[in-house]
């Protein structure tokens, strides 16, 4: 603000389908990483039960429960099934469960999310992957500390939702250099920025998502680009020393400069 810069924030750019297109690639990557790090946490040296995610013929695979069937949860299910695990996806939307069932068929079980269903399932789980997010709100604590106590020693929780608080009561953010800790015998992996593990893939994914916006700004200038694309305009957060995003302004307790005003001022100066 003091530098007078015009700032566009990735996290408030919107899309016509209602999601946040510059954040979505990171959800996708985090979801795909979850079974991979979960499998690693199940190894003995990491404190896990010492089991192979996919088992071998004659020895059953790990039971994997995925809380939430959104972008991260779907990707997590696909990789976990691909690694041979026995996967159950839990969601409170029947529509989401139908999509999961259509995509994975007999390879995934779908369960409607209730407190009692989760409490029942969690007792036999080897790997719990939490992906439940409510955009713009704190993540609901679907897994209580009491439930964690009922889990088997050496089982694993990967809390992909940790960026927004986590969906387990026992989750607290960790880092890539010290990714896990143990509560009641359960290994917790709660790295706050999971996609940072694979920066090359993450960067390309992010570039693909941002490139159309960058090209529009480069070709037309930011004012025209924003005036023609309200989704890009939604990304404008700071202009001429003022905050233009109401939510950010409210959080910081400052006055909001309406985006329209920012444009008007801009257009005036240009002409």
């Amino acid at each position: 603000m003091s530098a007078g810069a015009t700032c566009i924030a990735y996290e408030t750019v919107t899309s016509s389908t209602g999601n946040l297109p510059l954040l979505a690639p990171m959800s996708e990557i985090a979801g795909r990483l979850a079974p991979q790090v979960g499998a690693q946490c199940l190894e003995k040296i990491a404190g896990g039960r010492g089991i192979l995610l996919g088992g071998v013929p004659g020895v059953p695979p790990a039971e994997v429960i995925i809380l939430g069937g959104g972008v991260s949860g779907t990707q997590a299910a696909q990789v976990a099934i691909g690694m041979g695990a026995r996967v159950t996806v839990v969601d409170r939307s029947v529509a989401v469960l139908k999509r999961i069932a259509a995509q994975f068929g007999s390879a995934a079980t779908t369960v409607f999310s209730t407190r009692s269903a989760i409490a029942h399932l969690i007792r036999d789980v080897d790997l719990l992957i939490g992906t439940v997010l409510i955009p713009g709100a704190a993540t609901p604590r679907l897994v209580s500390a009491a439930m964690v106590k009922t889990m088997r020693a050496g089982s694993v929780i990967v809390d992909v939702a940790i960026d927004q608080g986590g969906c387990c009561e026992t989750s607290r953010a960790t880092t890539h250099s010290d990714p896990t800790y143990v509560v009641d015998g359960v290994v917790h992996y709660c790295v706050a920025n999971m996609p940072g593990a694979v920066p090359r893939t993450s960067t390309f994914a992010l570039n693909n998502a941002t490139l159309p916006f960058v090209l529009a700004i480069a070709d037309k200038g930011w004012r025209r680009a924003m005036s023609e694309d309200p989704h890009l305009a939604a990304g404008l957060n700071v202009h001429e020393g003022h905050i233009t995003n109401p939510a950010v302004a409210a959080a910081l307790g400052v006055r909001t400069l309406p985006i329209a005003a920012a444009y008007g001022e801009a257009v005036a100066r240009v002409s």
Copy 2:
């Protein structure tokens, strides 16, 4: 014997791969029928738990345990998976379990067969399909009456092995007109001749298997056909009033006419 007929029995014709080729089609059909009749027994009106084999999104499918991964068991697994059930195949051969795992991937769980593994699994099963056969011996009673008592009310046992005694202690043969009975709340389907339910398919399957032998007999006469094909010759059971199959003769307490002698005599008369 008194009619002087020359009789070839389907059940003793052999093949180069060691199985009984004229019985195999019936095992295949019985295996494919098992999940179909099991699903039907799970309906409320049949005394079952009132659940759908494949569940629906949000409601888990039935847990199906298949004892034995041979011809019948493999076919049963394929249909049960196709109907959407959650399938576990139990066998005491690691090689068989590897074949099952390669064929069905994540869609089937494989478990090495031990008494304790079966006792553990059976408590949560909705449909148990027994297909374990030991050729030329009584079927082992893998499921004891005590285990059946631990099953859930309304669960179902389909005992495909009933033709050779059944693999559950509580199994006794039934008929297509009165196919089921209930023991300790568990519906038992133990029809002795399951393929009889689909005679058209069964007949064609049997014809396909027998046709090469029939053509050989028609083209060459039975003596030459048998002398050129020991597998067909193994089917000869009765000739000129004598029993030629040692096992049958022993079971009946009569003297065996060696097959060689039958041939010699035959050739002599012809010339």
Copy 3:
């Protein structure tokens, strides 16, 4: 009405995607049941052709025609394919056929629905599953009595659409205790409430669909819940002795109490 109860009807609650979310689970279950009961009707003892739905290697599987590619039809196709049948789906929407083709690939044939196409296909069918429904209208009689006469003896019709009149001219509603009858050699299965066969699965599926509405009513009271959710409000049928649903009122020949009025009155009494 005389009791003064406030009544919400499952069958008029709507959703943002335009369907009836409290009826959809039953369509799904009926669709999955259809190949299962159809396979059973094909057994000899049930009057069928005596063929196995999936055939065996060397003996072709049953030809299954599914009229309608909606919720029921899609589920029916999935289970029929899973059981090994040769499946053709007929629909008059090219968009629906594209979805079916994308989901099932080479395992299903899709055919555009015309009278002549159905008449041509029906002659070689073993199992015809009728799922065509037009919401709020009588089901079209796609299969005439004359067409049924051209079907093979022992073939089977499962008319899932019987609840709204059925899509075959020869269909009339039956019950679980006496589910079939024969017309021109064709076995008809026309049980009006198919999901009643699996009440446990059906109840859980229905609970999953209704729970969000029940929670909203419990948390907020029915007036606020309805004022905040027009889809729930669409379910209100009776209030204070009056009919609030115009279609129901028209059918009964009584005056409609506008929903808005019901709310106003309600709010007034509360304050």
Copy 4:
């Protein structure tokens, strides 16, 4: 022979599994090419019915019948299914049909081969692929000229077995530059050396198969290589002006030099 060369023939080298390993890659390639050229022959400009092998949603795909489920037939089935056709494989071995059924599941129908089954199927076929070979014997003429007359105008026969005479009575060898001709309205593709269409793939495939033998000869000399590997030795056809292969010698009406003698002479000279 007059040059005194020592000649090893690809077509008589054997393997421990009983087939001819230096010919097998060509069967594989011909099988994969068959649906490709068949699809092309179905185009209008080639004289075909003008249909797309895989159809599109709402328009059924081509009916493809494959005679023979061996190497060529299996490859042909895989590609035809991949292109979206409706595939039926016909073979007189139930064991072969079981393998096909296990590999392709619901995507292929299997039919036991009888004259009447073929005559029945051929009337509705769009593309018939003939792959039936009997090693060391003339290919059986499974499809008579009379049957061809019953085929639809514009349907197609690809006779992969033409190298050994073809399995249709109406087949006669053609070339890549003039690959097809029409009999009774049926387009016949009978190119004698199908793999010649893709020489780069064929050469690499052949090199992979021959390399182990070439290395053995290069490392050990041909005499030791052959003495240590009877399968390679079976390939010796000409040595020191004599024919060493009895079948070839018989066909040419000359005396055979026993392989043992060839070796003995060779060994003598070496020592």
Copy 5:
């Protein structure tokens, strides 16, 4: 116009999903044909590299790059994968790539479209299928002549987009009777009306798409049919000697008769 006919053009009828429903079937068919004709062009006799699209075990399959993941591109990917090729789909929409990835899983690679990505991929490609169309605009020339120079001798370009100019700088329209030409060693297949190769399939597909409109016109007369369905009305191009479609009128430099006026006149005459 001079005949006074009332003309409805297939190519301007619209649908509620924004595409052109009477053109879509042709895109579908062209996409499915593309790998088939591409495979054929890869044959030696057609000037190609002489490789088999799907390779054989031990010899890698062809590398296929598909530019554009729309209707044609998706169909092309499905058939190319089915024929065993190694497929990469390039598109500038991440949403499209996600759909492709969900449909084909590990069997297709997805790449975000940039000039450099295409230039990099094209050097190792065996078959390039161009399907990129921008409705109502000239197809972008994604592949420059310079890029074509970097392709391997004997590689193949199938330019499905040739009807709107093609997406390669080196593309120019050809015909079914002389479908290919060679530029810089690269075989170009640029037939302008690909679905014409399979007229029977194309006609049925088109009939399925047009039938609902035809029935509406037959049942209601064209005026009422159009007044009730704006998508059909969008197809009206000529009426009473006037052009009613603004774009066509502009292209021809004549005055447009507003559709409303056409209706009003019509209605007046009727009354």
Copy 6:
């Protein structure tokens, strides 16, 4: 030997199919672990390229090369494909490559193993998994140090064959506590006892394989068990202070006690 114990060694028990059944489960587990640890090594923090094994839509997945298509290689391929990688399997047996191709279809590329093929492929690989073993011989060094120099910085080698020396010239055994090291920028994972990472799964897998032998010994005594099962007898290594296995004896430079003698002595003492 000094204790006078009778010792049976897991590693010399044989089976009727020619492999070592008590070692096979460990190969299976190591193969399944290889992509999991390889994916982890590709993370930035482990020194890898920072890429996700399966990529995301728009960003290509990792290129994985698996040397050897035996038990370990097949399992590695299955998991790597399941995680979304682009997999190529290299083997010098065409028969093995055919099996891989049949199992994985379009999802895996197969390449015949030659020095030049490996040298060509290795330049673009992200993850190389070495599984080549020659029973009873040192593992061939298929990947030379010079080849490793041509690999990309941050690429990864997982040498499953390290227990028998490894198949890369740069491989040297590591441990679970310090599993990797870097040579020429390439991360090497060469843990000698990979299954030790998942001891619970490994133990059950081993128990399943050994149980039949243990039961036989328990039921019959070791002498009779061995006399009835030559595969178990092959496991006898030490008896009455003598070495009974010729290879072990030769390696230790001591005299062998023939197994027959051990038996004779045993039998004598028993009687």
